[in-house]
């Protein structure tokens, strides 16, 4: 049971960072299908970074840089070149998958050794609480960062700063925001880059925090799960984190339920996150609560 909770929280953390970033980005009106590519690219970069320098911190930073790079490409094509966000996202995912696989096979023929992993931290007193204590307070540092730093920071940014207000304005009606003097393209770019950095942390958490290595295509659809989490969380920070927790639990159950003796078809467990997101979208008002101009390309003068 302890193992289940710990695993659920761990898996949720990998989703959580990316979902936070995606929330901010979607609030600005940018749907990043390339989130999958951001996570995969940053997973690869963080492994390279930490193996090369021996420092987990530098690994995380490399991951963030890689995530931001993929985000930048998405932004350039969607914002400057006015391309459809979904198409660009799909293409980027393909390109990143190919590039990371190519580079991985080229540089390391089998597996990477001496990856500096993230250390597990036990918080002194609380750690000793029976059952919950060990599960919740014995995670690696990024988990705590997520809960206590990243999420409040994201919330504060989005809801308590002028920048966050501009972001939300860009997502709801960029034309009106533009008329009021907000630099829409720039704000959207910033939101996407921030999403890339967050996704970078997620990739690092996945690669050097949990799995201690890289394998081809290791992001395994997490990017899409995060998008589903944002939808399920109704584009709110708290809701998105809760969604990630639910999805992480589902993922943990996939492995733990058979061990606990219940025979639930594994396909059902894999399907549950998507089912939940679908129900949220359909039942709770078809995307009400979504930024009104989500995925809409912004142009000063609408295309004739």
């Amino acid at each position: 049971m302890v193992g289940l909770i710990a695993a659920a929280l761990r898996l949720s953390a990998a989703l959580g960072f990316a979902a936070l970033g995606e929330t901010i980005s979607q609030r600005a009106g940018m749907l990043n299908i390339s989130l999958e590519g951001m996570i995969l690219g940053s997973a690869f970069a963080s492994v390279i970074g930490s193996a090369a320098t021996g420092s987990a911190l530098l690994g995380v930073l490399s991951g963030m840089a890689a995530g931001a790079t993929v985000a930048y490409v998405q932004a350039v094509f969607s914002l400057r070149l006015k391309a459809d966000q979904i198409i660009v996202g799909l293409a980027l995912n393909l390109a990143v998958l190919g590039l990371t696989t190519f580079a991985f096979r080229g540089l390391y023929h089998s597996s990477i050794s001496n990856v500096a992993g993230l250390v597990r931290i036990d918080i002194p007193v609380v750690h000793s609480i029976p059952l919950l204590g060990e599960a919740v307070f014995s995670q690696d540092i990024l988990f705590y960062l997520l809960l206590f730093v990243a999420a409040p920071l994201a919330w504060w940014l989005l809801w308590r700063t002028a920048w966050g207000l501009n972001v939300r304005a860009c997502g709801d009606n960029p034309w009106a925001a533009d008329a009021a003097g907000v630099r829409v393209e720039r704000t959207r770019l910033q939101a996407v880059l921030l999403c890339g950095a967050f996704a970078g942390v997620a990739g690092a958490e996945l690669a050097i925090g949990q799995l201690r290595g890289f394998s081809e295509g290791m992001s395994a659809g997490r990017g899409f799960l995060c998008i589903a989490a944002v939808i399920f969380g109704r584009w709110q920070i708290g809701g998105t984190l809760a969604a990630c927790l639910v999805f992480g639990t589902g993922q943990a159950l996939q492995f733990q339920l058979p061990a606990l003796g219940y025979s639930v078809p594994p396909q059902l467990l894999v399907a549950i996150p998507y089912l939940l997101a679908l129900m949220a979208v359909v039942l709770l008002g078809g995307g009400r609560g979504a930024p009104a101009a989500l995925m809409r390309t912004f142009e000063r003068r609408p295309a004739r």
Binding site: L92, D172, D178, A180, L268, A271, A277
Partner: protein
């Protein structure tokens, strides 16, 4: 903000956006799509060629970086894709599901919808086709094949129809619903494969093996081969693509569907039943997706396998995009991507070039199309009519 062109809207004053403004106003309606003339089609063709050239250039660089001769690689790829009739067969074999998926995507796109659920529709269509084929295994092939394909069409259409109904009745974005439903469909089919149903392989079940595919369908329920590996499914896909192109151009129904995509509001004013047409467009798109699945199980694998579609749905979207959403262009584009896959596999075996290059090439091709398309559209908007 970049000083590019004159701004039609002058900012009234540098007002602060307040909390009250956000979330209350609604953005203007989406702008209409442009009609394309023959010059536009020619330009699109040029854009696609340039995109492929650019991605091949990147391939050259990557291959050279790895220390091999790009010329050898290209020779191997070309030979593997077009060198022998066997190669042509393999290329067309790989192109068929891509063409189906591209047609499915374009049919939805022309009605203003984006169908991201093609993979799911393929899985369900394939499952339905296999179920029918296995259930009617005593009947002659002439009866089984049409029945199975019809079942595939129905299954795919029903699945996409759900998303279409949600869009029409509830206003839910079909992008989100079709996308999420893909995963559900795949898991559902995998589940059906693993339990002792009609689909599962009873022989394997008895011997205790893990169930990952269904039993083989009867020999005469299989689609006949045309050239090498290529089978009748290709003819079906071609007929669909060309037939749809003709229908769009020359029938009233096709015209109405196109109007829906250009400008839904104008279509409504013009008497088009927007809701019904939207649902119909989704049904048609899903039907083609289901048919793709039927073609895969009856012509490619002769059974239902758990890796039925390794992303053909999204690859089909790439194919459609490189063809700039032209149905005829999609035929050429699908053959080209089929060639890329076949040539890539051959090169991987012959010259030891990694298959991951294929993904990179696809990604770069799309990004290039998109990038050039921007400049073409910019020029067009500023008055260059020769661009169509």
């Amino acid at each position: 903000m970049s000083g590019r062109g004159n701004v039609g809207i002058e900012p009234v004053a540098k007002q602060q956006v307040t909390e009250r403004d956000v979330g209350e106003s609604r953005p203007p309606a989406a702008p209409a799509r442009r009609v394309r003339s023959w010059q536009g089609n020619a330009v699109s063709f040029g854009v696609a060629l340039t995109a492929l050239a650019a991605s091949l250039l990147v391939t050259v660089m990557l291959v050279a970086f790895q220390g091999q001769s790009p010329w050898n690689v290209f020779q191997a790829m070309f030979h593997g894709a077009f060198g022998t009739s066997q190669a042509w067969g393999a290329t067309l074999y790989n192109a068929t599901p891509l063409l189906f998926a591209a047609v499915a995507f374009i049919v939805a796109q022309r009605a203003g919808l984006i169908n991201l659920g093609i993979d799911g529709q393929m899985y369900l269509g394939g499952a339905a086709a296999v179920a029918v084929a296995l259930a009617t295994s005593r009947l002659p092939g002439m009866v089984v094949i049409p029945l199975a394909l019809a079942a595939a069409v129905a299954a795919g259409a029903a699945w996409s129809g759900l998303a279409g109904a949600a869009k029409v009745r509830l206003g839910v974005s079909e992008i989100i619903t079709t996308f999420l439903m893909t995963f559900l469909a795949i898991q559902l089919v995998l589940y059906l494969l693993s339990t002792p149903t009609l689909l599962a392989d009873s022989q394997a079940a008895q011997s205790g093996q893990r169930l990952e595919q269904s039993a083989f369908i009867a020999t005469d329920a299989r689609l006949p081969r045309l050239l090498g590996q290529a089978h009748v499914g290709l003819v079906v896909a071609l007929a669909l693509a060309l037939g749809a192109a003709a229908a769009y151009r020359w029938t009233r129904f096709g015209f109405r569907l196109r109007m829906l995509g250009y400008n839904a509001e104008a279509a409504r004013q013009g008497g088009v039943a927007v809701g019904a047409m939207t649902l119909l467009a989704m049904l048609l798109s899903g039907a083609v997706g289901g048919l793709a699945g039927g073609s895969l199980v009856l012509g490619n694998y002769y059974r239902l396998v758990d890796q039925l579609s390794p992303g053909y749905g999204f690859d089909g979207i790439v194919v459609a995009l490189v063809a700039r959403s032209s149905l005829v262009g999609a035929v050429v584009s699908a053959i080209l991507f089929g060639a890329l896959r076949t040539g890539g596999q051959y090169a991987e075996a012959a010259v030891q070039v990694p298959g991951s290059l294929f993904s990179i090439v696809q990604g770069i091709a799309v990004l290039t199309v998109v990038g050039i398309g921007y400049y073409v559209d910019r020029r067009r908007a500023n008055g260059a009519t020769w661009l169509g």
